[in-house]
Symmetry: C2
Subunit: 387 residues, 2 copies
């Protein structure tokens, strides 16, 4: 790829342009707002002018509802040999694009899974897509050449191409992106009606839950509208859960003098704890940030002296990252051994790290043993220890 | 304060004990689970034994529903002269405590607004409360001495005491902590039912929205039950918003061939954008992480050369932190001056930083001017520039 046109110099378009410019591609920038294109050019993203001949690829970085019209106009003036978009919804915009385009075979839908809270060219970064998935959704009529060129751009930006069907993509992002945005907005909207002095008690948890409610409501309205069918399914299930929660909270808020009242409260409590447990189970669906499997553990005996465990954890931290996350502490006597009041500490770790930690701790004078092997034996030991 | 008893050596109890131990206080640790108390002691949080004489203060770091019973038992064995708790709900636990305690005047309700996703003594940190608010909710019968001793502990931990009524505290944390937890759980629970391959598309936004759904469902059930009345009010409003959203999504997902269908879609869109806008307005209720008022701005003219804006932003970054967050770029010709294709960049900043940045940029050869004064003139300039 030697030439690229970017139509729409917002966060995503300008970031694509910066990444391509860095790799030596000549980039032509345009935007409905000429100041935005000039800003992107002044940031080093390319030239704020029209190419004199068709470029290798045009990236249409415009809202979902504009993709069809912008594609048709670009093809009519022969802007590029191949076209792709970056809209975060695929089914409806791709259908519109294929319907309106003079040559639908030269278009392939795309969606880089990357973003920031801030929008506009000033927020753009050449490394925005590094290591991120970038969905490509070719239609039946898409030419191999078009898909190949789009894939080349994805790799140029350091992203990971994920070829998928539009419908599957839209169902997935409804759950991972669009409904979370709505949930953050629903929560944030409640804050307007909070009691005086409420904000003193706001902590990081509230900030995290509501963070993504920032963002252009016009653009987000466009995105949500384009994926309304997929989103509606998830929101309907959410609504059913919330209805059950309202009932449960009413049962819990009621007085509990009599036996039937206590039974009702217990029912409300079960509904609520069930929701909390399903939430924890849902989190397990997210890929772990660290993908290593702990198939071994380091066992260390610790006496009862004040601060001895702190010293062990500090010593371990020199060899492995954040072992406190998964460390298990048990009474030494649960195994019938060890000094009275002593503790046994276990660090679940991948095998190689476990061996490294064992050697390191032993060199420091700790009574460390490396236990390799199946998780089953480990579970049995935990059960024994927690009695 | 010279002696402290901590009953319950989980995350909060052990963190209080670590903070007090560091300040030279003798701390006595106990827990229903003796291994937990021994673990806290081995971390350097204090002694895992009962005091021989009443201590100055006992911190009851137990779940909300246990505060009353644990307080009564502690007072009967004269554990301390003054008692406080750390439950994140105040009305119900304090009422139970005052009802069951042999001497209610010696008890004052407390709640440090600090936490981590992880629980248990291993997650404890001496600096957990630094700069965080710590609510104290004295009742009519609370002695001045009890409130004074509790306040001393708060300051010892580096936290900020906030004396407030139980009811006001509970209404505030329902909104800032309890409902956000439920919202995170509701969203996370949906992930169990996602399509195959969904997790490839999970990004930081989803992780942030659902992060606090981690956490012990038993303890959280206890907390939510104790504050059910306040939570129910907020959740009911959330439910009403969500019902409107379901209707709006159904309208948006329907076909829009005819004129009445288009009108319905427009209605759905307005409902959704209204929700998004209310979310953005709600976020404004949260205190800004940086409290400085931008009462001045630095104005810099930039030519049309590629990358020149990038060089300006890099130069500015040497003098002020993250100026890109608020930078405004406009066309130079909107003021009738400047080179054709040139831009004017404005950095809104507190007055002293603006002067510092102006001097620094001028020294680097940039055409920078510092504009002091009221925001009104600035708004007028923005309006002119955006035409």
């Amino acid at each position: 790829m030697r030439t690229l046109a970017v139509v729409g110099t917002g966060l995503i378009g300008t970031s694509v342009a910066l990444a391509a410019s860095r790799r030596g591609v000549t980039v032509f920038l345009s935007d409905r707002d000429p100041v935005s294109a000039r800003t992107a050019a002044a940031l080093g993203a390319g030239l704020a002018e029209e190419p004199v001949a068709p470029v290798d690829l045009a990236v249409l970085a415009v809202p979902p509802s504009a993709v069809g019209t912008v594609l048709a106009a670009a093809q009519r003036r022969s802007l590029a040999r191949v076209y792709t978009d970056v809209a975060s919804v695929k089914s409806v915009p791709v259908r519109m694009a294929l319907r309106q385009a003079p040559d639908p075979s030269r278009f392939v839908g795309g969606h880089p899974l990357a973003g920031r809270e801030r929008s506009g060219p000033l927020a753009a970064r050449a490394d925005l897509f590094l290591g991120r998935p970038w969905a490509l959704t070719p239609a039946a009529c898409t030419s191999d050449a078009a898909l190949g060129t789009a894939r080349e751009l994805v790799e140029l930006c350091g992203a990971v191409p994920v070829v998928t069907r539009s419908r599957d993509h839209d169902d997935a992002v409804a759950l991972t992106s669009h409904v979370p945005h709505l949930v953050a907005s629903l929560m944030a909207a409640r804050l307007r009606e909070g009691p005086d002095g409420m904000s003193r008690f706001a902590g990081q948890g509230l900030r995290d839950v509501t963070r993504i409610a920032h963002g252009d409501s016009g653009l987000w309205g466009d995105i949500l509208q384009a994926n309304a069918a997929s989103i509606a399914g998830v929101v309907r299930d959410l609504h059913a859960d919330l209805s059950r929660l309202v009932t449960a909270l009413d049962l819990l808020a009621a007085p509990d003098g009599s036996e039937p009242e206590r039974a009702e409260r217990a029912r409300g409590m079960r509904t609520m704890v069930d929701l909390l447990d399903r939430g924890i189970a849902g989190l397990a669906q997210l890929p772990a940030t660290c993908g290593d499997v702990a198939d071994a553990r380091v066992r260390v005996a610790v006496g009862g002296r004040p601060g001895e465990l702190r010293r062990l954890l500090d010593a371990a931290a020199e060899f492995v990252v954040a072992p406190e996350e998964t460390v298990v502490v048990q009474a030494a006597d649960a195994w019938g051994g060890g000094a009275d009041g002593g503790l046994v500490v276990r660090f679940p770790l991948p095998s190689d790290l476990a061996e490294c930690l064992t050697a390191g701790l032993r060199a420091g004078g700790w009574a460390a043993e490396c236990e390799q092997g199946a998780e089953r034996g480990y579970s049995a030991a935990r059960t024994a220890g927690s009695e």
